[in-house]
Symmetry: C2
């Protein structure tokens, strides 16, 4: 199918590459129609890969992945255009990381809002589903690289059918075995607020290539 | 040994009960020296159990557990007295949960501070270690009730020897198999920011009796 991937960073490239490998027609979107990183990716990815502006990509895609940097996501999605994304499912993979003061990044979390909700407010007719932001780019599209895939992915969004579609994508395309629905889009607060722990675990484990498995009594 | 447990709620009672079972002399501290919940607990717990004010308990304990409600913790620890806790290890189990507007509680998280750090600033000569706030009270002192204990506890604090002592307590007294050191006390931001995800997982799993296992590639 035709898919928009917004963002040309590590996450955008990992998602786009996997989607092309699965046979989809992927347009990578960025601020300009002639992005160097997107061009380099097209050279490697081959058939099915193209690029355009955020708006070009949003028009192209039947579904869209937001892989832009968190601090730039709202602006990028406004450039993509609410009309171009109307009625479509948008998987929001972003994290509110502020690298302006160096490493580690400051994580812009709070009790009452999240990037996922900001995107849903900016795109009221788009079905935003927050997901995949809790693992590194490689693990997003190949969870089996960690503990044979025996760990959890989460999602949150207001539209039940959109969450059903995203669950199919996570399971069928990327190979996630365990997907937990955390409720409406305000669950994006919880998924983004996990990032400070994720960053500390990276430090403790000396690798970003990890995930968490939820275990319960009974 | 002589131990202070500050707080008479579910967490304070679970910790105190376990410590008395292990043979320790536990004084439960609260605002008053004649707290009804503490008295009820002493009746059940028997030998080794006593109660007093926050200050009485802080004087009594060679180490102390902060099990007070997060929004009241700084005030409670000031009442306990910086002098009474000087040089001692304080395990901070609190979470910044605001129940004033009903359920679910608002979690007072942010990028630049945490309860653990507020307590360390209020008690500069006490060795504060943030831990145990990521699971329910029963699992804190009996992690084997979940997945045979195959999941993780975390800690954060500025003093390496204090973290070593707390790791011994978690492993030796409570039975934790996996303890991860997340660095200095600013790691409390990460542990407290996990709470919104914890609350959502409770909703999704329909039980608070769960934990997370960290799994990595390799």
């Amino acid at each position: 199918m035709k898919i928009a991937v917004l963002g040309t960073g590590m996450v955008g490239e990992a998602i786009s590459t996997k989607l092309v490998q699965l046979g989809h027609e992927v347009m990578m979107g960025s601020r300009t129609a002639n992005n160097e990183k997107a061009a380099a990716w097209i050279g490697k990815a081959g058939k099915g890969a193209s690029q355009g502006t955020f708006a070009d990509a949003a028009r192209h895609g039947e579904i869209a992945f937001n892989c832009t940097a968190g601090v730039a996501s709202v602006e990028a999605l406004k450039a993509a255009g609410a009309d171009n994304l109307k009625g479509k499912v948008l998987l929001d993979l972003s994290n509110p990381l502020d690298f302006s003061k160096g490493m580690p990044p400051r994580v812009l979390i709070g009790p009452d809002d999240s990037l996922g909700e900001q995107l849903q407010r900016a795109l009221p007719d788009t079905r935003v589903v927050k997901t995949l932001n809790t693992v590194n780019a490689m693990a997003m599209v190949d969870p089996s690289r960690i503990a044979s895939g025996d760990h959890h992915m989460f999602l949150a969004g207001n539209d039940a059918s959109a969450k059903g579609r995203v669950t199919e994508i996570l399971r069928g395309w990327f190979g996630w075995k365990h997907v937990l629905d955390l409720g409406d889009i305000t669950g994006a607060r919880a998924l983004e607020a996990y990032l400070p722990l994720w960053l500390r675990l990276w430090g403790a484990l000396q690798t970003p290539d990890f995930s968490i498995k939820v275990v319960k009594n009974g």
